[in-house]
Amino acid sequence: MDPAAHPDGGVAVVELADAVAVLGRFPALAGVDLTVGRGEIVLLRGPNGAGKTTLLRLCAGLLPLARGTGTVVGCDLRTQREAVRARVGLLGHANGLYGDLTVRENVEFWGATVGATTHEIDASLERMGLAARLADVGVSRLSAGQKRRTALACLVARRAQLWLLDEPHAGLDAAGRDELDLTLRAAVAAGATVMVASHELERAGSLATRIVDVVAGQVQEPSA
C-alpha cells in the first residue's frame, strides 16, 4: 500500500491509539493517544523519563508497538515499519553523522539512500547555510550547532515528510536556537510536519503550533 503521495492538509501524519512501547520490561509509553496533522509543529513537553524520546522513536518506526495501534505518514506501525522509516527523519541525541567525512559527503550519503540528485544535495546544504565555508569540513571538527545543521541537511536531502527532533536546541547558543526555529518553520512551509521534544519552554509560543504534555508515558493536551 503506497501512502498518499501528496497528503493534503486534512490527512493525519501521526495517529496513535492506546500505543504501548516497552524498553526491556518497562512500559515507557503506557497508552498514548495522539493525532498530528500535516504542517503542524508539535512541541512535546515533559519531565525526563516521561517517554518523549520513546514516543519519537516509536513514530520513527524504530521501536515495535507492543500494544495499541498506530499509523505514521500513512503507514501502519505494525506491518509497514520499513515504509515508515523511509519517510521519517529522526534527529536524536546523537546526530547519525560520520565524523570522518565532510559535511557534503555526509549529506550526499544520506541523500543517496533515497536517490537524491546533486541539485537536491546542494539545495539542502544551501538551506542549512552550510554551502559556503563548511561544506568540505570534516564533521568531527564542527561545533555542536553546525553538526545539528548538518544532520538537518541530511533530513532535507532524504525528503523526510515527518521530522522528529529530540531536544534539538540542546547545546546551541541563542543565535543557534533562533536559526533552528527558522529552519523548522521553513521545512513546514515546504510540506513537512515536525514533532519536537524539548525542555525549551520559552519556545512554546514562538515555534510550536501546538503543545502536548507527555507525562508518565501518556499524552495530554494541556488544559491551559
Binding site: P64, L97, T113
Partner: protein
Amino acid sequence: MNDPSPVTGTSGHVATGVWRTARLIAGKDLRIERRSRVIVNQVLPFAALVMVLFAFALDNDDVLLRTAPGLVWLGTIFSLLILVQRSFAVESADGALDALRVAGVNPAGIFLGKSLALAVQLVVLEMLLVALAMVLYQAQLDAMGAVLLVTTIAPATTGLAFVGTLYGGLAAGARGRETLLPLLLFPVVAPVLIGATRATEAAFGAGSAAIDEGWPWVGVLLVFSALFGVGGTLAFGPLIEE
C-alpha cells in the same frame, strides 16, 4: 518543495536497489578508513606484531616454516575480530546504525556493503601477513603456488567478510554484546581456517604438500562463501532489527 514520497519497493524499503546501496555503503566505509587510517595505523601493525609473537612462542625455524600457513590465517582471524568491531564502531559512534535503519535502507544492502568494505580491508591484511611469512618464516612461493594462493585468498576473504559482518551486526551496539562476538564468530570461521591453511600449505609447499592438494580446499572455501553470502543477506535484517 512539494516532494513526492520516496519511491519504495514492495518491501517498503527505499528502492535504491540492493547493489547500489551496497556500493554506497562500501564506498562510505572505505572513505572513512582512508580519512581516519585506523586500520593502517593500528590493525596492520597489530597483525604484524602477532606474527612476531608467534616466532617468539614457537622458537624453532623448522616449526615456523612448517606452520607458516597456519600462522598467516590465525593472524588473519585474530585481526578479523578487530576489523569487525571497528566496522560497527563507525556506525554506533554517532548513532549511525540506528540512522541507517531509520533511513529505511535495505538491510541486505547494508550487509553486502559492509562485507565488501571488510573484504577489501582483509585482503590488504592477508597480503601483508603472507609477505611477513616469507620474510620472517622463510616461506617460499613459486609461480604455481602464487596462483593457488590468490585463488585461495578470494573465497576465504569473502567468507570471512560475510560471517564477520553478520555476527558483527548482532554483537554491535548494546552493552554486554561485544564480548559475544568471538564466541559466535570463531566456531563459524573454523572451516575457513582449515581450508585456507591447507590450501596455503600446498601453495607454500610446506610440510610436503603438493600443489594439487590445495584445489579441493578452494572448492570448500567457495561453498562456504556462497552459503554465508546468501544466508547472511537473508539473516542480517532480522538480526539487527529491534
